[in-house]
Symmetry: C2
Subunit: 303 residues, 2 copies
């Protein structure tokens, strides 16, 4: 199976789980369930559930019973996008080539839809899974929650807002403080949830502590590479290709890797992180291991 075939088949499993497990659109009150489905089922790479699947498969697990838990990662990711897009935050009208949730359903529903997706995610994570120890599931919930709390994803978003608002960065020279602020933002805003996705796969697959430490290193390198590539794409791609308002990071004076160190150095750093990710991926000795291929895919992607 090529990496493209692997990603396509696992993405289809995630899509099916999301479609099946989200409350039907006519569940009262219908508007919130329409909005939740609109936000979640509007495309996306599903990279977080796929990372969990790949980690679980690399550790030798059968993934069918774990798909609901893994798909919760996409609910969390989507909730963060829905809230980030709100007028009080990034004020984005377009996402994945479609109108953002608050543009379609109104600002109040945008806030509540994000809330509902986050809550639903924890429901899915807490649903009993046949063959998985309850204590492992509890550990997984704690790991995911910590990754997206005020010292994780939300903390990264707060630091990002502060960097932008404190702003007027372009064209003043950048310093060491900016690099450390940027690392804080990237590690927290996107890195920790990507790492937790890999760990969720390992924990529910029954990985031992050594394997989990390896998966964590893989996840951290892959997560940071993912974000650097994202920054590079924001500069390079046009709005048409990317489906969001491109170049906005630059326009808003956001801290990005290319802005701080130049596109060339940023590309080199992504390459170094890829090497680290691959080395750790290769230490997991399961029968079906696409972890390294996924890291390569993330660094080579064009959108």
């Amino acid at each position: 199976m090529t990496i493209d075939e692997y990603l396509k088949s696992r993405r289809a499993m995630v899509e099916a789980a999301l479609e099946r497990e989200l409350p039907p659109a006519n569940t009262p009150p219908a508007v919130i369930h329409e909005a939740m489905r609109y936000a979640v089922l509007g495309g996306g790479k599903r990279i977080r559930p796929i990372l969990a699947i790949a980690a679980a498969e690399a550790c030798g697990a059968k993934i069918e019973p774990l798909l609901k838990a893994f798909s919760s990662l996409e609910l969390i990711h989507t909730y963060s996008l829905v809230h980030d897009d709100l007028p009080a935050l990034d004020n984005d009208d377009l996402r994945r080539g479609r109108k953002t949730t608050h543009v379609v359903f109104g600002e109040a529903m945008g806030i509540l839809t994000g809330d509902a997706l986050l809550t639903e995610a924890f429901s899915w994570l807490a649903a009993p899974v046949e063959g998985v120890d309850a204590s492992r599931q509890l550990r997984a919930i704690a790991e995911v929650a910590r990754a997206v709390d005020s010292t994780g994803m939300i903390g990264g978003q707060v630091a990002d807002l502060e960097a932008t608002i404190g702003g007027a960065r372009t064209p003043r020279p950048h310093g060491a403080d900016d690099v450390s602020a940027l690392l804080f933002i990237h590690r927290n805003k996107t890195g920790k949830l990507l790492t937790a996705s890999v760990l969720l796969g390992g924990i529910l697959a029954g990985a031992d502590d050594d394997e989990l430490a390896t998966l964590r290193r893989y996840g951290e390198a892959t997560g940071l590479a993912f974000q650097i590539v994202d920054d590079l794409l924001d500069i390079e791609e046009s709005a048409a290709t990317l489906g969001k308002t491109a170049g906005k990071d630059v326009e808003q004076g956001k801290l990005t890797y290319p802005a701080l160190m130049g596109a060339e150095a940023a590309r080199a750093e992504a390459g170094r992180l890829l090497g680290e990710a691959v080395a750790n991926a290769d230490m997991i000795k399961g029968p079906l291991n696409y972890l390294a291929a996924i890291a390569r895919f993330i660094c080579d992607r064009r959108s």
Copy 2:
């Protein structure tokens, strides 16, 4: 111990747990942790954690190890208030006699603070508790999550918004549809989390299925009575006593019990529900049972 002494001592335990378990205000990024502490530590009756404590004590449990899990209920309640107060929702400037979180910290931080509190709540619920089975803890998380999801608390808030926005209710006559809409709003917006609070206490205390069914009936009756009394207080109390903009429900044309059936009938209904709550409370045969007294306190309160 009188009910006042009981409530005071349990509330002090909850305050201490919240103070201890919330991230310190200087944790980076500091602003979100200041905002979380501002929102949570600004007073409040702490009725949800106290209901969990009372249920656990009625079932014979030692509550000290459970306080962190029980206090998560206050994080969830506070998150819902912080988001409900936002300009896009109820647009309230005052809460518990103080400026609301978004007024002090800005709208973006209001949204993210609510998100952070909800996430933190699930961290606290997933933290290992000595002496409690992981499978019971998982069940407790699922119960709490379901109570506050899009078919629970958030669903109630959505229905409430729709009733208000669909609005222009005053002074047109009210009908049967209004009564069923009102019951949907109250059962979901406040009732389910209050019921889940009671159940959380029972589940972590090791209650059997019969006891949990009794606790559920107690919680449902108490929760609905609580909301009816809230509606009555909104009409009766002045802004000075209540610490929020009183009479606002009426002004916004919100569905309330007194508006639909008159204050007299609403008071009678609260009394009937209190009887139901007390009858179920008395079926729990633990050594320390303040459940009935709490239900009475809720119905007699003046704020």
